[in-house]
Amino acid sequence: MGDKPIWEQIGSSFVQHYYQLFDTDRTQLGAIYIDTSCLTWEGQQFQGKAAIVEKLSSLPFTKIAHSITAQDHQPTTDSCILSMVVGQLKADEDPVMGFHQVFLLKNINDAWVCTNDMFRLALHNSG
């Protein structure tokens, strides 16, 4: 880890933490959002920690496992970190599906929070 840029360390730690929580107990994801955070989930928009956690908690599967194919991180000119994740997920007994997710992370009061989150399944995007 020593020679990785700081934004990459922060971004990849966040990504690991996010999917670990999502796959074990996604009702706890409230900790990473704030009241101005935005989520766009398959084109549907939610704003604020409560609305976001309600959406994530109500997703219609009981177990899920994410695996990450690729992740990229960049610093922004406003001292945020932008992370893009491409991966696969398996929900309950459904077939494995590709997904694509973007996070914007901001340091507020010494904690990194997710201010922007966008998620899309890759289902309709095969060549």
């Binding site: 101005t36 935005c38 766009t40 084109g43 928009q45 194919t69 690729a70 990229d72 960049q74 610093p75 922004t76 000119t77 406003d78 945020c80 932008l82 893009m84 491409v86 991966g87 696969q88 077939p95 494995v96 599906m97 590709g98 694509h100 973007v102 914007l104 901001k106 201010t115 922007n116 966008m118 899309r120 890759a122 309709h124 995007n125 095969s126 060549g127």
Partner: protein, 128 residues
């Protein structure tokens, strides 16, 4: 357009402009980047307009066509617009490939520029 939020209009206009330029004459894309812009192209990082355009201009195909499957836009608390695009592209006579791209747009001197750009092919991301 009147009832769409402003960030969505800005994001959608940018996305349309970007792929139109990319598909017709990608050297023109220089105007959308600044010297602090970052591009990550298939995991490889480039910073600044010159380095980014060096990469984009050297991509090894003559003709390319992008088709957008879905695009999402959000405002950020720093007054930027975050855009995510999922689509397909066809380069020369290669087979159609899926791609993922995201842009962070910032208003600098009354002009929207792309401060962050991340691109990945979806080639290795298919379910079984």
């Amino acid at each position: 357009m009147a009832e769409k939020p402003v960030w969505e209009q800005i994001g959608a206009s940018f996305v349309q402009h970007y792929y139109q330029q990319f598909d017709t004459n990608r050297v023109n894309l220089a105007e959308i980047y600044a010297d602090t812009s970052c591009l990550t192209w298939e995991g490889e990082g480039f910073q600044g307009k010159n380095a980014i355009m060096g990469k984009i201009n050297s991509l090894p195909f003559k003709t390319i066509q992008h088709i957008i499957t879905a695009q999402d836009h959000q405002p950020t608390i720093d007054s930027c617009v975050l855009s995510m695009v999922v689509g397909q592209l066809k380069a020369d006579e290669d087979q159609v490939m899926g791609f993922h791209q995201m842009f962070l747009l910032k208003n600098v001197d009354n002009k929207w520029i792309c401060s962050n750009d991340v691109f990945r092919l979806a080639l290795h991301n298919f379910g079984s």
